[in-house]
Amino acid sequence: MSGAAMRRAAVCVAGCLLAFSARADDDARAWIERMSESLATRNYDGLFTHSTGRQAETMRIVHRVDKGKSLERLVSLDGSGREIVRTSEEVHAYLPDRRVVIVEPRGDDGSLLKSLPTPGPALDRYYELAVGPQGSRLLGREVRVIDVRPKDIYRYGYRLWLDEETAMPLQSVVTNGIGNPIEVIRFTQLQMKDKIPARDIEPTVDATGFQWVRTGRKVAAMPQLPSNGGWRPLRLPPGFRLVASRLQPIPGSPMPAQHLIFSDGIAAISVFIEPGSQTGPRPPETSSMGSANAYSTSVHGHVVTAIGEVPAATVREIANSVVPVQGSDVPADSPASSAR
């Protein structure tokens, strides 16, 4: 074969591989979109186990669609009796072990349309996407295994076992940078129903005497953040962009917190900036819950907290880079600038 012919063959093979890769990405993205749509728009009642490196708990999830609104109840069946109810207007987190109910307005008004996720066309720049072959089974159902592997150290990966017919995730695993599972959700029961009774969404916790903590107001009623100022992280992982910002009232504080939300299409990171305590700056703190990590530190007399379903190092880096800015202070080539 001549040199020219070999080059043509090589180009053809490379083109085929690229086309195959692009198709795999498209297929995986389509599966992820189907999954998200099913989770948000179908009626279902399921029992699943939530496992982390520390513990495993069994929970029930009931999701009801009523007049175009998405309603949901998530309850721990494992001792604590904690319960979260998402009505069309608010999210109520019942914590009977603390005798507290946390109330947060729903930003999407329960609308199905607004609750649909947007994986985004650039997803494959930050994740390697793959769809497994047909033929796998779980819970007596045919499933398709979807792999979402991060291409860098700033985010987690996911392995999803999606029902062939409905794309509901019968099992999902969050993996760290070296592919080890750090959080597993596995359904043991899942009923897709035509209708879910309204009573199945009502809380079973008797909240008499509980402290009700309202952590926010409706987003629409909040003042808009100034477009040319506020707080911004100077360092953001590739692919994360600012998708929303708002002011978040803090119980007991006259000053609201600024809440910035960044997303790469799958993972989200929230940054809260609130006035610091009068007792002076506090040492940095790191916390984790499941695959979510949080990091708090003091910056210019304020407490900056970054939270997200990303590695601890990622939230730490972001929180440590937050600075107060004026419009002209943001470097043109900084991630903060590109996020605005």
């Binding site: 999954m35 998200s36 989770l39 939530h50 496992s51 982390t52 490196g53 520390r54 513990q55 929970m59 029930r60 998530l74 309850v75 069946l77 494992d78 001792g79 604590s80 319960e83 979260i84 999210v91 987190a93 947060e104 930003g107 609750s115 994986p119 995730p169 969050v174 760290n176 080890n180 750090i182 959080e183 597993v184 959700i185 043991t188 952590t215 926010g216 929303a244 803090i250 799958i266 989200a268 929230s270 506090r282 040492p283 940095p284 703190e285 790191t286 916390s287 984790s288 819950m289 499941g290 695959s291 979510a292 949080a294 530190t297 003091s298 910056v299 997200g308 379903e309 590695p311 601890a312």
Partner: protein, 191 residues
């Protein structure tokens, strides 16, 4: 607690409970803390044995196992015998926690069980994360106010997650006991 209820809990975890019985049991579970504790122990046993890498048992695990098995290996054997009827009818769905290996684990002492379930090569999440060399990790429990503040932040944050990730985040919030766990406390001058 009756053997029938134990059977139902086990069948629920195995996906073998009829739908009408399941709805009733779910309602009872949500209202009965003791039943929830027992159910949680069964679920943890099953989950631990299913997990390829094993699980780290939480501090309350021993007490929960004791409660679940009624402090007596004999009660487990009795329950197993009762269950064997339905198991024989559906051999492909043998109740996990009643298989011989599980019965052995349950019949063993609580301490031995805890040791069996703990795999030292499985690192808790905190150990999987890269920790800067100049930071100092120290166990510290968050105050109720700190836990509540972070819980509020988690609920607010979940509003902007995709449905799947939101379920993970909210599940973690429900599972956190007694609140958000502070896994490290970095020493150094705050900025």
């Amino acid at each position: 607690m009756t053997d029938q209820i134990r059977e139902q809990l086990s069948a629920l975890l195995d996906g073998e409970l009829p739908r009408d019985e399941m709805d009733l049991l779910m309602r009872r579970l949500e209202k009965d803390p003791e039943l929830r504790r027992t159910f949680g122990s069964y679920a943890l046993i099953g989950e631990t044995l299913r997990a390829p890498g094993g699980r780290v048992a939480p501090p309350s695990f021993a007490a929960r196992v004791t409660a679940a098995i009624g402090d007596s290996p004999a009660s487990v054997e009795k329950a197993s015998t009762t269950r064997a009827v339905s198991v024989a009818q559906q051999p492909q769905h043998v109740a996990l926690w009643k298989r011989p290996m599980v019965r052995t684990a349950l019949a063993a002492s609580v301490a031995a069980t805890a040791v069996l379930l703990f795999r030292p090569d499985v690192a808790p999440i905190a150990q999987l994360e890269v920790t800067p060399a100049n930071s100092f990790a120290m166990s510290a429990s968050p105050t109720p106010a700190q836990s509540q503040r972070l819980a509020g932040y988690m609920v607010a944050h979940s509003q902007f997650s995709t449905p799947m990730v939101r379920r993970n985040v909210l599940s973690s919030l429900l599972a956190a006991d007694p609140g958000i766990t502070r896994v490290s406390y970095e020493m150094g001058e705050a900025r």
